[in-house]
């Protein structure tokens, strides 16, 4: 939300005086601390969500484990078949690292245009995926359309799962578990991220359309993965639209017409910045913009 003009100059009353922050020097130290704290502890990545807990009238946890200085969580490995992104990579670092790879235009746009420059230097990709109450996260639909996987680690080992599955379980993730990596497969796709903030920049997006499409030699759609964010409480794929585009020439106006026919499947969420119907009604326009951007790439 755009802040009101009054100062929130009441520093302490909503904070919890017993909160601790362990700045973890290594992954092992972070996983040990999280295991020991159990349900009283949580990861502290960029802090751009956690530090706003008082404004949302939510209590802080008793213990945080700061993960921003753990070298392996801050690195990005670009391999021939996949890109592995450490969970504590910031939006700014992610956008810079992938800016020369057109197949990741969708993720670069998500990371480079979210929030504002100072926040992009702090907010992390892991925090963006892990925040269950944040409907407007940009990287979630971008990574859904890229078919990303999430690696979760604990003192007892690690496991990988599809992002779709992670979104289902994230609010009940067992204590002691940490998102450590996001793995994104590579491919010859045209991708794009269309978001609609209320101002040109700086606000949360009212709605987001992310897409990843491959076309055959005649310009017809071979594969399509489209995802929608910020319209419903959790971002999700738009599989009916994928199916309707496959086999057809890739065309912004046609894609927008089909989107208008199918948009009724979204329920929309009401909030102070935008009503539910508005979020749904802008989807065809965002689909048109996303397809045009993908074609232009």
């Amino acid at each position: 939300m755009i802040p009101g003009p009054q100062m929130r100059n009441a520093p302490v009353e909503t904070r919890n005086a017993t909160t601790s922050i362990h700045v973890a020097p290594s992954l092992a130290s972070a996983l040990d601390a999280l295991a020991e704290y159990g349900a009283a502890g949580a990861a502290f990545a960029g802090g751009t969500w956690i530090m706003r807990s008082p404004v949302r009238h939510e209590p802080l946890r008793a213990h945080y484990v700061a993960i921003g200085r753990i070298p392996e969580l801050g690195s990005i490995r670009i391999g021939p078949n996949a890109v592995e992104i450490g969970a504590a990579v910031t939006h700014a670092a992610l956008a810079a690292a992938l800016s020369d790879l057109p197949e990741f235009n969708v993720l670069v746009a998500a990371a480079a245009r979210s929030a504002n420059p100072a926040i992009r230097e702090m907010a992390t990709i892991g925090g963006n995926l892990a925040t269950s109450d944040f409907a407007a996260a940009d990287c979630v639909p971008a990574l859904l359309c890229l078919d990303a996987e999430v690696e979760i680690s604990s003192r007892d080992g690690c496991e990988r799962m599809k992002l779709e599955r992670f979104l289902e379980i994230r609010s009940t993730l067992a204590p002691g578990r940490l998102v450590t990596q996001i793995i994104v497969p590579r491919g010859e796709h045209k991708t794009a991220h269309a978001r609609l903030p209320l101002r040109k920049a700086g606000d949360y997006p009212v709605a987001i359309v992310s897409l990843s499409i491959s076309v055959d030699g005649t310009g017809r759609v071979r594969t399509a993965r489209i995802a929608v964010g910020s319209v419903e409480p959790v971002a999700r794929r738009w599989e009916r639209l994928d199916a309707a585009l496959i086999g057809r020439p890739l065309d912004p106006a046609h894609a927008a017409r089909v989107a208008a026919e199918l948009a009724g499947e979204f329920a929309g969420r009401d909030s102070v910045d935008a009503p539910a119907w508005y979020r749904v009604s802008v989807l065809p326009g965002l689909v048109r913009r996303a397809v045009a951007a993908a074609l232009g790439a």
């Binding site: 929130r8 420059p117 700086g202």
Partner: protein, 152 residues
Amino acid sequence: MALSLTVNGDHLASTADPTTPLVDILREELHLTGAKPVCREGFCGACMVLIDGTPRPSCLTPAALADGCEIRTVEGLATQGQLNRIQAALDTSDAVQCGMCFPGMVVSLTHLLATTPDAVREDIRAALTGNICRCTGYERIIDATLLALATK
């Protein structure tokens, strides 16, 4: 455990709770009231300070993560009583109105001048996405920044 902060070149200790927002330490303990907690959400930029050279909203920076860092607030940007380039240009251009947003504007623009010496209007606008001004309509601030960029 005491935190050790370097603020505008001075080494200081604080016993604040580790999650205390840096802006509250600056204002309540150190009486540096340039940075202002307006939204406490990262949207408005009125609390912006440089942490190890990068603009950061001090409302979202917990004390524990400012420990050991080099912090510069608007009070520490002039050298030997001499306003820095953007401060001088904002003054010359008569860009300041109520002044609420200015400590943060000056911090963000000081960084822009240092890192993007060939910035054009659009770059300045983009750099100020997280600095909200209720009074000026921004244009005079942008003109002043162009003036500062032209002043070597």
